[in-house]
Structure formats: structure tokens, C-alpha cells
């Protein structure tokens, strides 16, 4: 079984994003970048499936400019077998990303595609579901447990009311939630080995997908700032303030 894992280069989760002074976008100059945490979990899951003998090959793909090769190398160091960069300078929408991935799925024919449930920059939570629709495959989103057996993936999903378990026929699309696994750290020898693993570059426009923008970013601004609060000295002062000043309890 071949597993395809799309990964995205995003701002490191420890870094607080700052809005540009001209309000055109978020400032990513000289900001630490990393693999989107949910994508890292996806890579880990694919590698574990391979270690368990359920998967035979793990292919990682990232759509972006040359810089995302850094994240592809990290994924190779974590245990992926080969990498593909779909090269573009353009800021793509989730639908575009899903369409490019659908073409790649056609070529590579993976039985399982594991994506992150969302990226921590756009917070869209769309790509996996769109890819599933475009490839007419079943989907299991927000996975916290995946068992692959007998041509199916049995997946436990984190939903608003608790945990839901579904069974999806392969080939299928899975998106990861936080508690699916804890990704390993890449060891130095594996980082060295990753440098020699294959990384192919394919131009995005060679797929024949219309990548014209459909959504315009008009403005980016800071969220409304909260007024500074006060420190209270005791529980009785807190209760008094909540009753008489904030009037949120009676």
C-alpha cells in the first residue's frame, strides 16, 4: 500500500504572527517556518503504517516555492521514502491545492492519502475534504485513531459530541487531529540519510489546472485588543468585582 502525505510549510506554532503595517497581509519576513503540526502528525502516521508492515511506500508532497524543500527534507528524515515539490510562487487557495493533489493522486495511485486537518496559518480545514470529493473517495477527517485492515480504514474521529468511529473503503482520504500520535524527532543519521533520498520537482502549471484566484485578500488587520485587566488580591474581591463591576454573576 502506498501512502501519500501532503505537507505544508507554515509559520512555526510558537511564533505569534504580526500584521504588516500596510495591512496587506501577515509579515512572514525572517519568521521561523516549520512543517504544519498536523502534517507532521500525518507523516508520523504514514511512517508508523510502514513500520507496521501495512504500508510499503510513503511519498510526501508539498506545493509551494523552493523553500518548502526544507520541510520535505524534514519529512524524509522522519521516515518518508521520497518527496515531490509541486513548484509554484503563487498563493493558492485550498481548492487549487486539492485540484493539484487530485492530479498527483491520478498519477501515483496511493491507496491512502493522509493530510493535516487544518493548517495553522490559513486555518481553512478544507483541503482533505475537497481532495476526497474530487477523487470520489471516502473521507475520514479529524482522526485520532487509524486501523487499516481488509481493504478498509477504521477511523476514530474527534467530533463536537465526543468520538465517532467510521469505516472507510480504500482508497480513502484521512485528515489528522492532534491526538493521533506524537511525532518523533529526526535523528542526525536520518537527517543525513534524507539528503540522499529522491526529491522531484514538478512545475505546477504542467498539471493543466486552472489556478486563477477566486478569492481576493482585501485587508488584514490586528484583532481588537482587550483592555488591560486588574489583579485582584482575594477570592472575595474577585466575587465582588464579578457581581458589581462586571455584572456577569448575580
Amino acid at each position: 500500500m502506498k501512502v501519500l502525505v501532503p505537507i505544508k510549510r507554515v509559520i512555526d506554532y510558537n511564533v505569534k504572527a504580526r500584521v504588516k503595517a500596510d495591512n496587506t497581509d501577515v509579515d512572514l519576513n525572517n519568521v521561523k517556518m516549520a512543517i504544519n503540526p498536523f502534517c507532521e502528525i500525518a507523516v508520523e502516521e504514514a511512517v508508523r503504517l510502514k513500520e507496521a508492515g501495512a504500508a510499503t511506500e510513503v511519498v510526501v508532497v508539498s506545493i509551494g516555492d523552493k523553500a518548502c524543500q526544507e520541510q520535505l527534507r524534514t519529512a524524509l528524515a522522519l521516515g518518508a521514502d521520497r518527496a515531490i515539490q509541486i513548484d509554484t510562487e503563487q498563493k493558492l487557495e485550498s481548492l487549487h491545492v486539492a485540484k493539484l493533489l487530485a492530479k498527483l493522486v491520478d498519477q501515483e495511485q496511493p491507496e491512502l492519502v493522509i493530510l493535516g486537518k487544518q493548517t495553522i496559518d490559513a486555518d481553512n480545514n478544507q483541503t482533505g475534504q475537497m481532495l476526497a470529493a474530487l477523487t470520489k473517495r471516502g473521507q475520514a477527517t479529524f482522526a485520532s485513531k487509524v486501523v487499516v485492515e481488509g481493504g478498509k480504514a477504521v477511523v476514530t474521529r474527534e467530533v463536537d459530541g465526543g468520538l465517532q468511529t467510521i469505516s472507510v473503503a480504500l482508497p480513502a482520504i484521512i485528515t489528522t487531529d492532534l491526538r493521533l500520535n506524537e511525532p518523533r524527532y529526526a535523528s542526525l543519521p536520518n537527517i543525513m540519510k534524507a539528503k540522499r533520498k529522491p526529491l522531484d520537482v514538478i512545475a505546477a502549471d504542467s498539471f493543466g489546472v486552472d489556478l486563477a484566484p477566486r478569492v481576493t485578500l482585501v485587508r488584514v488587520e490586528e484583532p481588537a485588543k482587550r483592555q488591560g485587566g486588574i489583579v485582584v488580591e482575594s477570592v472575595s474581591e474577585l466575587v465582588e468585582k464579578l457581581k458589581n463591576e462586571a455584572k456577569v454573576i448575580s
Binding site: I11, Y13, K16, A17, V26, S94, L95, A98, Q118, I120, D121, D123, N124, N125, Q126, T127, Q129, M130, A132, A133, R137, G138, Q139, T141, F142, E158, V159, D160, G161, G162, L163, Q164, T165, I166, V168, A169, D177, L178, R179, R214, V215, T216, L217, V218, V220, E221, E222, P223, R226, G229, I230, V231, V232, V235, S236, L238, L242, A246, V248, I249
Partner: protein, 308 residues
């Protein structure tokens, strides 16, 4: 302009999020249809018909929609989509699971988790864990949107409007429901509660959440948690508040033993009043708190319960 709102429900009752999505829809236009897809949902359709601003309700009542799985529910929505300029659902896990499928099948870009309607084409949405608010304009002829319900008000009620049923039972050929582990609670739902009290890693274990329960009982509050508390197994996943958990905006949010990581703040910083209880005076949670109490939670929680 015709707007289609997909109702959020659990087959038992209509979720209050639906009313808030109708509120968002009413800022776009006045011709609003609500689709209720599920099994044995006549009562739910009836509730939807009574949300002010709704012009009619369509109900697809069939066993195939019992679990509202994404594949066939999306196919149903696409079947009914013609003629609508806007299709909206709440950004609940059900809406998030299904709507991007609808968007892709219609060949439209989706706009996720809108928090404001600027005009019929233009919407605001948080990005980067709420550290920036983007205003985005859709050039699509059909807008597929998910709505962050906590950013909109509940609509008033009205005399029930017409309910029409559709007999369309689309089978799901790829995916089967196996089981659900529903967290049972007598408390209000996290996303609907007027008061939320959340515990973090500082609670040390699941048993200690009992300290929050006494207070929650007195305040009629829902109980939430940080990711660290969920990951450590203190409480179930559906209690997680944050960028990747639930987004809440209650009148009062009490954070206990929570440091205030950006990802947690993303889920609660729009609360009206925030109280933080933490023994570390430098914890970032104090930067967003209206009232901070620097103290050991094990000392002050019993005191607080008594004082209420």
C-alpha cells in the same frame, strides 16, 4: 439572492448554532431556506421553521442521513444547490467535514469560519490562530461559507413557516458508521453556555476537575479544558477549547491552571469577561484577563465555590 443554510443538529434537537448561522445569513439577504438532513427529524424541522428570518424549510428525512456522513450529505446538498447564491453551515465538526466537499463538487472556493459579513461578497475571518483578521472577497457566483457561530447572535423566534420534504435518499457507497462515544453531561454545551470554567495542566489529574464542578453547578457553567489537560487524559477531547478545539465566547470565562498559549487564547479571547487563576504571575493568560488572581488553585477553588 437566495440563501441555503444547512441545519446543525444531532437527530435529537436542533443546535443553537443553526439560529446563529441564520443570523449571519440575514446579514446577506432575506430569502433564507434551511435544509434539515437526518433521520426522524420532523421535530427538528419544526424548530428550524420557527427561527426568525427563515422563509422555508426543506427536510430530507431518511435513514441514509442518520449519521450525517459527509459523502452522501454533500451529494444531497449539491443536488439541491441550484438557484442559491450562498450556502452556509456552521463551522461545527459536521459542517467542517461536509462543506468543503460541497464546495469542491460545485467547483467553488470555500471561505471558512466567517466572523462578520461586510457585504454579500465580502467577509471577515480569523487567520493565524486569530492573531490576524482577514477581509476576503469571493469572486464566485455561489459562495460556500462556514460560519463561526460564536461571532453571531441567536435569532428571535417566529410563527412556523412552510416545511417541504424532498425524497432524495443518496446512499453512501464508501463510508459506514461504526459507533459513537458520546460524552454525556447535564451541563450546558460549551459553545452555548453563558459561563465557561476551564481547567489546564495545573489541575494535575482528572479527579481534581471535581473542584471545577462545584463552581460550575453554582454558575450554570459548562466545563472546558486546555489541550494539555485533554492530552494528559484528564478529560475527554470534546472539552478542548482553542484553535483546534471549540471556539467559545461566553459572558464569563474562568481559566484555571492554564498558561494562555496562543492556541488556547484563539478559542476564548472573545469572551466578554475573562478571569484567570494561576500561581505564576507571569503566565500569558493574565495579559488577556480582566480579573487575575495569582494563587494556588487548590486553595482558592474551594473558597470560590463557597463564596458564590
Amino acid at each position: 439572492m437566495k440563501i441555503l443554510v444547512i441545519a446543525d443538529h444531532d437527530n435529537g434537537a436542533l443546535k443553537p448554532e443553526t439560529s446563529k448561522v441564520v443570523n449571519a445569513a440575514s446579514k446577506i439577504g432575506s430569502d433564507i431556506t434551511v435544509l434539515v438532513a437526518g433521520a426522524n427529524v420532523a421535530e427538528i424541522a419544526n424548530s428550524a421553521a420557527q427561527i426568525a428570518g427563515v422563509t422555508n424549510v426543506i427536510v430530507a428525512d431518511d435513514a441514509v442521513y442518520a449519521q450525517q456522513l459527509a459523502e452522501n450529505t454533500a451529494d444531497l446538498v449539491v443536488e439541491l444547490a441550484s438557484g442559491y447564491s450562498h450556502i452556509l453551515a456552521s463551522a461545527s465538526t459536521t459542517g467542517k467535514n461536509m462543506m468543503p466537499r460541497v464546495a469542491a463538487l460545485l467547483d467553488k472556493s470555500q471561505i471558512s469560519e466567517i466572523i462578520a459579513v461586510v457585504d454579500e461578497n465580502t467577509f471577515k475571518r480569523p487567520i493565524y490562530a486569530g492573531n490576524a483578521i482577514a477581509t476576503v472577497q469571493s469572486n464566485e457566483d455561489v459562495k460556500v461559507l462556514t460560519v463561526r457561530a460564536s461571532a453571531f447572535d441567536v435569532q428571535a423566534s417566529q410563527g412556523a413557516v412552510a416545511i417541504n420534504s424532498v425524497d432524495s435518499a443518496v446512499a453512501n457507497t464508501t463510508t459506514e458508521f461504526v459507533s459513537v462515544e458520546q460524552t454525556m453531561s447535564e451541563r450546558p454545551e460549551l459553545t452555548a453556555a453563558a459561563v465557561v470554567i476551564s481547567g489546564g495542566r495545573g489541575m494535575q489529574n482528572g479527579e481534581n476537575f471535581a473542584l471545577l464542578e462545584g463552581i460550575a453547578d453554582k454558575l450554570g457553567a459548562a466545563i472546558g479544558a486546555s489541550r494539555a489537560a485533554v492530552d494528559a487524559g484528564f478529560v475527554p477531547n470534546d472539552m478542548q477549547v482553542g484553535q483546534t478545539g471549540k471556539i467559545v465566547a461566553p459572558n464569563l470565562y474562568i481559566a484555571v491552571g492554564i498558561s494562555g498559549a496562543i492556541q488556547h487564547l484563539a478559542g476564548m479571547k472573545d469572551s466578554k469577561v475573562i478571569v484567570a487563576i494561576n500561581k505564576d504571575p507571569d503566565a500569558p493568560i493574565f495579559q488577556v484577563a480582566d480579573y487575575g488572581l495569582v494563587a494556588d488553585l487548590f486553595e482558592v477553588l474551594p473558597e470560590l465555590e463557597k463564596a458564590l
